[in-house]
């Protein structure tokens, strides 16, 4: 197993802090230099408040700190997603570290699940291959350990049953021990999350729930009250997957979430390139990209090409979040 090798890579990645300026050459579609950084005053107002809401945790949320740093730099944070175990356990960890090195502020590691009913074809394909390749929950935790050791706050994004079956408090304990920052739980609404809310408090983990364009203001208030780290705003009504345009509903949703909480709001679903990242960075605190990275790994002829490709995309997106389109 190449964990040692990855650990070595991770060592070199120490202090992953994205360069404050990307060269214009890294992203073909990066916005022109004259673009105004979106809502800098709002960002600086928000910087410093982050991590407050719901914070009965004994530890400061590393995820909130990452958003705070980005906000202090007058930009949105970049959040990259990859599922564990694809193209291999080591390969996924290596690719996640590469994405972090190239500018992602937070990494989400997906826990491959047999019934991914919220995922589109790209992530389905990758997680299917990960499971067929024998990826276990223990591999996910090892992946988190490797990626977190590279200095980037690392969350696990998971359907609920694998955590439920592992045991909620045991999973929280083992995730915290692996250096994980928390969980994103797309099919666990706060109403059903009693055990997890407690376990997250006990272990100082972030708990990220999702809001959707269809969420009422009352539900947004209910959901964000239990969030810690950031709030995940689904940009559109649909499954994961890169799209030509990010839902127009996203900006309105972000604004409604901001009325309810001081937590940072990151937008996911559909973002695929630097231009879209810039567009979303114009109104959100963070930009989440998953399927576009996974697509690059799926399309790559070999592991090295996959790494190069995700690194390029991360750099393009990192440039995007620094230069909002409007």
């Amino acid at each position: 197993m190449s964990a040692a090798h990855i650990a070595g890579e991770a060592g070199r990645a120490e202090g992953v802090s994205p360069p404050s300026q990307r060269s214009a050459g890294t992203g073909g579609s990066s916005p022109d230099g004259s673009a105004r950084v979106g809502a800098p005053e709002a960002r600086s107002r928000r910087a410093g408040q982050l991590g407050g809401s719901g914070g009965s945790s004994p530890r400061v949320s590393r995820v909130s700190v990452a958003f705070e740093k980005a906000a202090a730099g007058g930009r949105a944070a970049l959040v990259g997603y990859l599922p564990a175990g694809f193209p291999s356990v080591a390969g996924a960890a290596e690719a996640a570290v590469a994405i972090a090195q190239a500018g992602a502020d937070v990494i989400e590691i997906g826990l491959p699940y047999s019934d991914p009913l919220m995922d589109g074809p790209v992530i389905q394909e990758a997680t299917h291959r990960a499971l067929a390749g024998g990826t276990h929950v223990s591999d996910v935790l090892r992946t988190v350990e490797t990626v977190a050791a590279a200095g980037v706050p690392t969350l696990v994004m998971t359907y609920w049953n694998p955590v439920d079956h592992y045991g909620v408090s045991a999973f929280a304990r083992d995730l915290a021990a692996a250096g994980g920052a928390g969980l994103i739980t797309p099919d666990l609404p706060p109403e059903e999350a009693g055990d997890w809310l407690e376990a997250a408090d006990d272990c100082g983990l972030d708990r990220v729930f999702l809001v959707a364009p269809s969420s009422s203001d009352a539900r947004i208030a209910r959901i964000t009250a239990d969030c810690r780290g950031f709030v995940y705003a689904a940009s559109l009504m649909g499954t994961t997957g890169a799209r030509e345009s990010v839902g127009a509903a996203a900006a309105g949703l972000v604004s409604r979430v901001r009325d309810a909480t001081s937590l940072p709001v990151a937008v996911g679903l559909g973002v695929r390139d630097g231009f879209q990242a810039a567009e979303v960075a114009g109104f959100a605190d963070g930009v989440i990209v998953g399927s576009a990275f996974v697509q690059r790994l799926l399309a790559a002829p070999d592991a090295q090409a996959g790494l190069d490709s995700v690194r390029d995309l991360a750099a393009e997106l990192a440039a995007g979040v620094r230069g909002p389109a409007r």
Partner: protein, 415 residues
């Protein structure tokens, strides 16, 4: 906020009671993507309003009578019962309902609700094709667009039902991911719904999924037991000693059981798909062999591996080939109000053949699992016991599979 203490079971509660909206003891709930939450709330509200609306109830009752053919018969089967020891067996003839199974009871209710909500498009999943056919039928009747997701594997096993749905005007979408069976069709139906929720209703075919589906579908299927209880009393002057039904997702079984839950003398027996054998791992006997977890929007028993990944299932019956089960069954199982057993493929097929040859009734292979359970119970209960078996569907759709099994077609028998 719901605290963990209140989402857990309260052993003192009467079984079947909705301890808290959408929960059956610790089971049920709404483990759904946030994008669906508002639709689930809307559905729950609309359903509650419809339930209290005499006009809705009258419209549904008239469709059930004048279109679906209710009440269905209760038929005594003495020649079959003679092979089950000293007992009487009555069949509740859901096979006589329009479209050939109990599925029509639920889809007529949900199709009416769809119209009430002002939606024009209905999504359904199907395994054996019975729910897909019933949904396509109701949509044709009420002028709704219909899309049915069906595992590619099942479209091959049940090619005639695919043709039936298409004739009724439905679009059938073969699902080519995962294990290409019912659970993957459900995943795909949810993916469609999350994208089209403003204009579409997902007409779930069993007492499963996120709240309010398990309660709503149960209520629509409850008529089976309500009718049967009266019919058995009228025919025999007494309540049955046991009510027997097959359980995949469990809608026909809940429908048959529910009216009898307060009758403590009546045993409720669910027959799950034992597949090759309950011990082989090639089965779909969720309550017999599974453990609690979360799947398809609900907390319930499911077949899962050490990592909480859903296990592949096997059954000769596509309609029972599902790794989960309705959450109310999980609660009835835990409280002991109902008991569940696994019936193997060959036990079910023997009972299938026996009913054909002793009574001239070809049952669905799903329902044959309940018949096999009755054959066992005849020997277990006191002499002279009275058994009510829910014959949930007819076997026309299974002729090809059964013919292969028994070697009536060219080539080798399937086993």
């Amino acid at each position: 906020m719901t605290s963990p203490a209140t989402t857990r079971g309260e052993p003192g509660r009467p079984p079947g009671a909705d301890r808290e909206a959408g929960h059956f003891g610790p089971y049920g709930g709404r483990f759904a993507p946030e994008a669906l939450m508002s639709a689930l709330e809307e559905l729950a509200t609309e359903y509650a309003t419809a339930q209290a609306d005499p006009a809705f109830q009258a419209e549904l009752a008239e469709l059930l009578r004048g279109y679906a053919g209710r009440p269905t018969l209760v038929t005594e089967v003495p020649r079959f019962a003679a092979r089950a020891g000293d007992c009487r067996i009555l069949l509740k003839r859901e096979d006589m309902a329009h479209t050939g199974s109990h599925k029509i009871n639920n889809v007529l209710g949900q199709a009416l609700l769809t119209k009430r909500m002002g939606k024009k498009r209905v999504i359904a999943e199907t395994g054996a094709g019975q729910h897909g056919v019933a949904t396509a039928t109701a949509c044709a009747l009420l002028g709704l667009d219909c899309v049915v997701y069906m595992g590619e594997e099942d479209t091959r096993r049940q090619a005639l039902n695919v043709a039936r749905m298409q004739m009724l005007g439905a679009e059938v979408v073969p699902v080519t991911n995962g294990s290409r069976t019912l659970k993957d069709a459900i995943n795909e139906a949810f993916r469609d719904w999350v994208t089209t929720v403003e204009t579409s209703h997902y007409c779930i075919g069993s007492v499963m999924g996120p709240d309010p589906f398990p309660t709503m579908v149960r209520d629509f299927q409850r008529i089976i037991g309500v009718e049967a209880r009266e019919q058995v009393l009228a025919m025999t002057g007494r309540l049955p000693d046991a009510v027997v039904a097959c359980v995949g997702g469990g809608s026909n079984a809940i429908g048959a059981f529910h009216a009898f839950i307060p009758d403590e003398s009546v045993r409720l027996i669910g027959c799950e798909a034992g597949g090759d054998s309950p011990d082989s791992g090639h089965n779909a006997a969720t309550l017999v062999a599974g453990s609690a977890g979360v799947i398809h929007g609900m907390r319930t028993y499911l077949l899962q591996d050490a990592d909480g990944q859903t296990l592949p299932t096997h059954s000769v019956s596509a309609g029972l080939d599902y790794p989960g089960v309705g959450p109310e069954h999980s609660w009835l199982h835990d409280t002991g109000r109902a008991s569940y057993r696994a019936i193997s493929d060959s036990q079910a097929m023997d009972a299938f053949s026996l009913l054909c040859q002793t009574e001239g009734i070809i049952p669905a292979i799903e329902s044959a699992h309940a018949l096999a359970g009755a054959l066992q119970l005849g020997g277990e209960l006191d002499p002279g016991s009275l058994l009510l078996v829910n014959l949930s569907g007819r076997g026309d759709k299974d002729v090809d599979i059964a013919a292969r099994w028994f070697g009536h077609l060219d080539g080798e028998a399937a086993r």
